[in-house]
């Protein structure tokens, strides 16, 4: 009985890990090469609003989405 329970628990944990690894990102379609980058306005670290569209015609842009501040992510 205990062995069956442990087996089920391990299977459940494995399934959860697989689901976690394979889950798709939410919502919008990730833009592709050749697409216009969707415009936005967001605050920087000094609370100043920055609009991506304002850089058009002025500069190439490297837009780097990172996972979490103060980590390697």
């Amino acid at each position: 009985m205990a062995r069956a329970f442990l087996t089920l628990l391990m299977l459940g944990l494995c399934g959860a890990v697989v689901a976690w690894v394979q889950h798709p990102a939410e919502a919008g379609r990730t833009p592709k090469i050749g697409d216009f980058a969707p415009d936005f306005t967001l605050p920087d670290q000094d609370h100043r609003p920055l609009r991506l569209g304002d850089l058009r015609g002025k500069s190439n842009v490297v837009l780097a989405f990172y996972v979490k501040a103060s980590t390697f992510g």
């Binding site: 990102a25 919008g28 697409d35 980058a37 967001l42 670290q45 837009l63």
Partner: protein, 90 residues
């Protein structure tokens, strides 16, 4: 120009900017709206997936690196150099 973007609060990005002596903006997408619009919101971690886009001056995406590939900036640097060379050509 380099822009960093995450779902962290402004205060957390401000601390991060100091830690790495960032000379570029770190943008806070606390509502996750932009991250979702770019299709990069991870619903389990509730954070952005690491992805780097290189845009030309018209705002068109010319290069993308995702996940582990985005850790090394070399690909993005090379694309930026290529875009600059194209701009300097008559």
């Amino acid at each position: 120009m380099v822009l960093g973007i995450s779902v962290d609060r402004v205060e957390d990005n401000a601390r991060f900017a100091r830690e790495i002596a960032a000379s570029f903006p770190l943008l806070s997408d606390t509502s996750q709206e932009v991250t979702r619009r770019y299709g990069l919101f991870d619903p389990v971690l509730r954070m952005a997936r690491r992805t780097t886009f290189v845009l030309d001056k018209e705002g068109i995406i010319r290069h993308i690196e995702a996940g582990g590939d985005a850790v090394d900036p070399e690909g993005a640097i090379q694309m930026c150099s290529m875009l600059k060379r194209k701009e300097s050509q008559p």
